[in-house]
Symmetry: C2
Subunit: 129 residues, 2 copies
Amino acid sequence: MLNYAPDLDRVFQALADPGRRLMVERLSRGPASVSELGRPLDMSLAAVLQHVQVLEASGLIRSYKAGRTRTCSINPVALRSAEDWIADRRSMVERRLDRLGDYLAQTADKPDPGRAAEPGEAANVHEEQ
Amino acid sequence: MLNYAPDLDRVFQALADPGRRLMVERLSRGPASVSELGRPLDMSLAAVLQHVQVLEASGLIRSYKAGRTRTCSINPVALRSAEDWIADRRSMVERRLDRLGDYLAQTADKPDPGRAAEPGEAANVHEEQ
């Protein structure tokens, strides 16, 4: 019944935290180490690592360790899957509202053929719905 | 330091649940009552109402009550704010990857002027970074 890819749950959950969004924003400008990601955030390295793990589990970022440094980079595919989901719904809403707008404009343009148009009639269009 | 509008937290949190995404999808096709929203979901009306409240608190939907029926409709503005946030980061990533691609293509096209180009040299381009 709920046939969405389960990772959208994790992607949106990962984006629901302002600190993690700041990390995504930083990584959209290029790869960074975990300590670089933590620098603008007022939290322990352990807390930063936990956020990195949430982001990685969601697929939004990838990381690899070289020596003692873990370097993170962004995965635009996961970012796009979330964007596409929202964009599809938003465009459906806007198309529907456009059609409603067209309908209202037509109703306002074309007075009831059964009687003569009166000045100011278009102002009643909302009450006629 | 974390200067995002706080509602993005709530919008992404609201979208992190597959049942709530199904409700958003239904509402993107037009207004619906709470019981209509709950119909495809295997949960109690109380649970459906709780999801509706999360969606409403995030700004993704609005609702009004007439008699005993609460009717919900979508708010495309909140949907667009989430979409814009993701799209801005995703396009930043893609511009950066395009520039990197251009750089790699140029490096592959132009052999080191200090020595003669050898066949298969372009294959080394990743090791030269």
